[in-house]
């Protein structure tokens, strides 16, 4: 069952191209979890999470300094090399500093032909989504609503469809079902030993970012049944929590290293699975576009912020989210895998280290990577030492 998920993950470009060919529909690439996938799905297009690769850069150095996130640079490199040419449009939000600037680099270095009117593109390849930096504030819902309204128009023009409220509501139902199924999978990891390994759970979730949600949901139902009847559970490993950023199919090698070192990731805070959506769903009592806005504003991405006022002096919104992921998991340790130049996550490290020790009494290993497979491999000795230390 998991092989079907695996084939999407391992052959993601081919898989999407095949889907396009078969269905005669568009593929919409996007970076980051704040982009309303459901809106794209509602139009009948395929939302495709853009990720990188472990290959050496060919085009990055001509445009960018090396002092930037290797993951984002890799995504850009693939775009310039034409690997992502099958995408019909690309949505770039202003999430972190480098992702926001991809809006320029995609336009300039990975352009697609377009009609030009008065110096402007009639239908741009790149859609820049201006997502608020602060998730609280009196005007934020209206602001993001307008951004999503523009995005909706962009998708409608691309797909030659009008996305009605009914279509969007149906899409939200599909996504809510997806969240329920993923949560069920997540529950199986609470057991000791968990019924699925950390890597397998990651792979299943990651596949959902590449394939149509409805197809993934169908596969998930039978997959969950198969898993719940498993006799051969993953080898008992030291139970760990993993916090990392863009743990895509390259960086997910860390799960394997942890498992090979005698550890087992039973919960994670990463931005390329659906861990951001644990415990949240679309509110289908609201008008659907409003529901999309509301959910998007709940995404606990570290690059966002909230106000801390006298009434609520320190909201701990990110820590409370982490706490939900760690609670009831009986973890013995936590690994923070900081991809280099990720400033938002980097600045959280001291606070989370202290909180994990204070509230869960677990040691924390902080690792740095630069997204390359070579440096990922270098984490092995520290992970082995850490697993030895906590398992001792």
């Amino acid at each position: 069952m998991s092989t079907e998920f695996r084939s999407w993950v391992e052959n993601r470009h081919e898989a999407v191209k095949e889907w396009k060919e078969k269905n005669k529909k568009q593929a919409v690439g996007y970076l980051c979890c704040v982009v309303p996938e459901a809106l794209i799905y509602a139009a009948g297009a395929l939302p495709v999470k853009i990720t990188g690769s472990g290959e050496k850069f060919e085009a990055v150095d001509e445009h960018m300094v090396p002092y930037g996130c290797g993951f984002v640079q890799s995504c850009f490199d693939l775009a310039v090399r034409g690997i992502y040419d099958y995408l019909d449009t690309v949505i770039i939000p202003n999430t972190c500093d480098l992702v926001a600037r991809m809006e320029y680099w995609y336009r300039v270095a990975a352009p697609k032909a377009s009609t030009i009117l008065l110096g402007l593109e009639a239908h741009p390849y790149v859609f820049y989504l201006n997502y608020p930096e602060k998730l609280t504030g009196s005007g934020v819902h209206n602001y993001l609503f307008n951004q999503f309204r523009l995005l909706k128009q962009h998708i409608e023009r691309l797909t030659n469809t009008t996305i009605t409220d009914e279509m969007l509501s149906q899409a939200l139902e599909v996504y809510n079902e997806h969240f329920r199924l993923i949560n069920q999978l997540d529950e199986l990891r609470k057991q000791d030993p968990p019924l699925v390994s950390g890597y397998e759970a990651w792979e299943v979730e990651f596949a959902s970012l590449l394939m149509p949600k409805s197809d993934h949901n169908e596969l998930m139902k039978s997959y969950l049944e198969e898993v719940s009847q498993r006799k051969d559970k993953p080898e008992k490993g030291v139970r760990l929590f993993l916090s990392g950023g863009s743990i895509d199919q390259e960086a997910a090698g860390i799960y394997k290293i942890i498992e090979e070192s005698g550890g087992q990731v039973v919960s994670e805070d990463i931005s390329t699975g659906t861990s951001y959506f644990r415990g949240i769903t679309f509110d289908t009592n609201k008008p659907p576009l409003d529901a999309c806005v509301e959910l998007s504003l709940k995404v606990p991405c570290p690059r966002s912020t909230v106000d801390a006022t006298l009434v609520n002096p320190w909201p701990e919104w990110r820590w409370n989210y982490i706490k939900r992921l760690v609670k009831d998991r009986d973890i013995k340790g936590a690994i923070i895998y900081n991809l280099g130049y990720c400033e938002c996550r980097g600045l959280e490290i001291p606070h989370f280290k202290n909180k994990l020790k204070e509230e869960f009494d677990v040691p924390v290993l902080v690792l740095s990577g630069d997204y390359t497979p070579e440096v990922l491999e270098e984490t092995r000795s520290s992970i082995e030492a850490f697993v030895e230390m906590v398992g001792d």
């Binding site: 300094v65 002092y67 320029y104 030009i116 504030g137 009196s138 320190w314 001291p350």
Partner: protein, 467 residues
């Protein structure tokens, strides 16, 4: 070759006497702020790109971690002259890193965090240059420019246990490349407009390429939210008259700066970057005040006279340089470095006060919101901006400060180098450094590179000097 003296922190030699006033203003501000705090009045810590007029409108005294981080970078611990003794900035960076803050973070952030970590731990806040800033009652930051200033302020607010407000400024994509190597047509030009232009009936220029009414609504709501937040904490009421007064001073200061920027185009250069960056304090932190305005008035007057006399800052100007990015505050002497070759840094665009917008005294909140939205940027407009500056100032070479810990500055650097070379045939040299952490600067390597650059420029000849 580096002398023993050069191994110490180096300040710059200024060309104008008006610039020396900046240091005095800084000292006065620290003293005034410390008195203000003693009187129980509200102090905020904020950041350089937050609109100061909002503080003046609320009777709040702001101090700026970026600013005191720069201040901490120019003194070694306990006033030592021994180069092996770290500066206060480096010392605080080490403290922040020991707590787990990554070393690739902005130097301002690491210094500020280290200062707060140490202060909270030991209770010692004043054994630092100028006795340090008064402690804040709350923190105010903005999303504009970079992510770090938001998250860093979160960490500080947590440790100081004070409230935090973030002014969210939409990152407008008015970022259409002016000359993207033949792929698209010219960019929409955004004209600056003065009050006189408005009075003559010229139409108001487009706001920015892509800002819409809901961007403006959001920006206005952010400003209103700030007022609510600040009223709640300080008990002061928002004073729109004071806001108008501050915006008036800002407008006049920006007009003066526009004049100064024009005067700086003269050959030989009358006001080098030693004085440009030397004016950073009043430009960034006293914007919207009379004392800030008066500083630039004196500067403009001195500059005007100098230009009328045809005097340059440096008698033997042979080639003209521009500095892209922010300086390494612990080594401002670098702006005098090329003088021995006849090179002068004639302009630096980093703290440009930006385009003028017409005043709207009937609605100062809207005026400020428009001003905030207009401050956006992106790679494309940064590149076209630099190209334009180099044309206007007749630049022969550009030094790119590769601030490896300051992402918004360093990200466009390669595109800038490419564009300068391709469009204008202007060579560049890069300098890896940090804003305040002197560990991240290989002095000998850097100077060797600059020497070679100077020699190459001398050989190439100068646009303005025709040699």
């Amino acid at each position: 070759m580096i002398t023993k003296e050069q191994q110490s922190i180096a300040g710059s030699v200024k060309a104008l006497s008006a610039t020396k006033q900046a240091w005095t203003l800084q000292k006065e501000e620290y003293a005034a702020g410390q008195r203000w705090k003693e009187e129980g009045k509200p102090v905020a810590w904020s950041c350089a790109v937050f609109p100061k007029e909002l503080f003046w409108a609320m009777d709040i005294f702001p101090f700026f971690p970026e600013q005191f981080s720069a201040l901490f970078s120019v003194r070694r611990l306990e006033g030592s002259q021994d180069p092996s003794v770290p500066t206060y900035a480096t010392h605080f960076c080490q403290i922040a890193e020991a707590e787990g803050n990554p070393d690739y973070l902005c130097g301002y952030a690491r210094t500020g965090l280290g200062y707060v970590i140490e202060g909270v731990r030991t209770g010692n806040w004043t054994d630092v240059p100028m006795g340090g800033p008064p402690l804040p009652d709350f923190l105010v930051t903005t999303s504009y420019v970079c992510d770090v200033r938001m998250k860093w302020f979160e960490s500080m607010a947590q440790m100081l246990k004070v409230p935090l407000f973030t002014l969210d400024v939409p990152e407008i994509a008015h970022d259409i490349p002016s000359s993207p190597w033949g792929l698209r047509g010219p960019a929409l030009s955004i004209r600056s407009m003065t009050q006189r232009d408005l009075q003559r009936g010229r139409p108001e220029p487009p706001l920015v390429a892509a800002a819409a009414d809901y961007d403006l609504d959001y920006m206005i709501s952010q400003i209103e939210d700030f007022f609510d937040f600040a009223e709640n904490i300080t008990g002061h009421k928002r004073d729109l008259d004071k806001l108008n007064e501050a915006l008036e001073w800002s407008y006049k200061t920006c007009e003066l700066n526009r004049e100064i920027n024009e005067l700086r185009k003269a050959v030989p250069a009358p006001m080098p970057s030693t004085d440009g960056f030397g004016s950073a304090y009043p430009r960034l932190y006293l914007m919207g005040t009379k004392r800030g305005h008066d500083y630039f008035l004196a500067l403009r007057d001195e500059l005007k006279e100098k230009v009328a006399r045809g005097e340059g800052a440096f008698p033997n100007e042979k080639f003209r340089l521009s500095w892209f990015g922010l300086p390494l505050w612990f080594n401002m002497g670098i702006f005098n470095y090329f003088e021995k070759f006849g090179g002068v840094f004639v302009y630096e665009g980093a703290y440009n006060t930006g385009l003028l917008r017409p005043r709207r005294p009937e609605d100062p909140v809207r005026e400020l919101a428009i001003k905030c939205l207009g401050a956006g940027g992106g790679i494309g407009s940064t590149v076209s901006g630099i190209l334009e500056e180099c044309r206007q100032y007749q630049i022969d070479g550009v030094v790119l400060s590769y601030l490896i810990t300051c992402r918004p500055i360093v990200f466009p650097a390669v595109e800038i180098a490419n564009a300068l070379e391709k469009e204008l045939g202007i060579p560049t040299v890069r300098l890896e450094c940090d804003l305040v952490d002197e560990r991240i600067f290989a002095q000998s390597q850097a100077y060797t590179r600059l020497d070679a650059f100077a020699e190459a420029l001398l050989q190439k000849g100068s646009i303005a000097h025709g040699n």
